[in-house]
């Protein structure tokens, strides 16, 4: 299944082709990585949200960094970029811009998750 291009976005939400290349077409590894993501992502983003809400710059920077690594390894480039932006703002101490950047990251995540779910459902058969 190819990732869809959505309106207003030049980049696919999830570059499956790139990821498949990275895992050397190892479907089993790909499933394993998606499972790790499913386990780790929700908790990390929840912790990030509370860090952003309480203007905890240290944790907001650390957690957005973790998400950035996770998302970029997965080939979810736009979401990784949103996490990178939040990390940069946290490191720079731009407390006023954190909420907005977090919402942008959440929006990217909302576009990404259904694609991952759909892929997982498909390969299970």
């Amino acid at each position: 299944m190819m990732s869809k291009k959505e309106e207003g976005h030049s980049e696919p939400v999830w570059n499956l082709a790139e990821l498949l290349e990275r895992v050397d077409n190892d479907q089993e590894l790909l499933r394993e990585l998606l499972n790790i993501f499913k386990d780790d992502f929700p908790q990390t983003i929840r912790s990030l949200q509370s860090a952003v809400n309480s203007e905890d710059l240290k944790n907001s920077s650390r957690l957005s960094h973790t998400l950035k690594g996770m998302l970029s390894s997965l080939g979810a480039t736009p979401a990784a970029a949103a996490a990178a932006k939040l990390e940069a703002l946290s490191s720079a101490g731009e407390t006023g811009s954190l909420e907005g950047a977090f919402s942008a990251l959440e929006a990217e995540a909302r576009r990404l998750l259904p694609e991952l779910e759909a892929y997982m459902a498909e390969v299970r058969h």
Binding site: E21, V23, I36, F37, D40, G69, S73, G75
Partner: protein
């Protein structure tokens, strides 16, 4: 080859682990810098490392700095992983002691190629260490027999005498000389002479314990040091060593030869704290006595009391043995 991966983020760590596992590496994966440092400090620890820049406890550059301060250990080739990649960061990473730098998300082919560079560097280091060890061996061993050379065996003897004096034990010093060796060289040639010396060296090493020393002292002279040797048994052991030469023919290119050895023996416990030169002189006198008594026998250096005031009863001139 072992490789260490340090990344606090599970997904990236698993991806790296599998990629390197497939490339044939023996992968050790850890979650933070502190664990990474522990692994890299182990004696047989990995010599290749992929370190994430941002990690809890100790970050990637911190691991690099800590590893580089231990100069005595073998080289570890370290690659930093980061998602950023500004010039300033590259410089900072390399200055912390990293050998290379990769940006995430990595490309599997590039990663493998860069690790091969690391392996080449490590191979180069192995060769240098091997060359150094060879030179060290050559500096302390006799080329023909591979026994310790004169300088090395005397160093070890000096150390051993010190220790046995301190621990009130006895070291037995044996000086052996192959009887009529010049005759072998003159009649059968130096090639056969060398064969004889090599065989004698092998027999001497086989006749002592692993923690004793055997050295080539001169042309056909051998120095054997029996560490922590009970004075009551030393003459018996010396006789065994002497017989290990004479009880079997030595096979040479020109046929079998029967050779004997004359031996001088000295027990350090009977001499108090004397300089090594003096002890070697005394054991040399004992060897001369064995030669004078008809060769193929053992003589024990006898402490003449008081040693300091009595002139040596034997001539101090250079003696020739055949």
């Amino acid at each position: 080859m072992k490789i260490l991966i340090a990344d606090d983020e599970a997904l990236s760590r698993r991806l790296l682990e599998r990629t390197l596992d497939r490339a044939g590496y023996e992968v050790i994966a850890v979650e933070n810098g502190k664990e990474a440092l522990e692994q890299l400090c182990k004696p047989e620890g990995p010599r290749l490392a992929l370190l994430d820049w941002v990690m809890p406890e100790l970050d990637g550059p911190g691991v690099c700095r800590a590893v580089r301060t231990r100069s005595e250990q073998t080289y570890v080739y370290m690659v930093l992983l980061t998602s950023k990649g500004s010039k300033e960061e590259t410089v900072l990473g390399l200055e912390s002691g990293a050998d290379d730098y990769l940006t995430k998300p990595f490309n599997a082919e590039e990663l493998r190629a860069r690790l091969r560079v690391g392996e080449r560097i490590l191979l180069l280091e192995d060769r240098l260490v091997e060359a150094r060890e060879n030179m060290r061996f050559r500096a302390t061993h006799d080329q023909l027999t591979s026994l310790l050379n004169r300088g090395a065996v005397m160093d070890l003897l000096a150390r051993e005498l010190h220790r046995s004096h301190r621990e009130q034990k006895s070291t037995a010093i044996l000086l052996g000389d192959v009887d009529h060796f010049k005759h072998v060289n003159d009649t059968l040639g130096h090639v056969v002479g060398d064969e004889v010396l090599m065989e004698i060296a092998n027999r001497l090493v086989a006749a002592v314990r692993s923690y004793d020393f055997v050295g080539r002292y001169g042309g056909e002279e051998f120095l054997v040091v029996l560490n922590n040797c009970d004075p009551a048994f030393a003459p018996l052991r010396a006789e065994e060593i002497r017989k290990s030469i004479s009880n079997r023919v030595i096979q040479t290119a020109k046929g079998p030869l029967t050779l004997t050895m004359s031996l001088g023996l000295l027990l350090s416990s009977e001499w108090g704290k004397k300089p090594i030169e003096e002890l070697l002189h005394e054991v040399d006198i004992a060897l001369y006595e064995a030669k004078a008594a008809g060769r193929a026998c053992l003589r024990i250096a006898k402490s003449r009391t008081p040693v300091e005031s009595s002139p040596s009863p034997l001539p101090q001139t250079v003696r020739l043995r055949h």
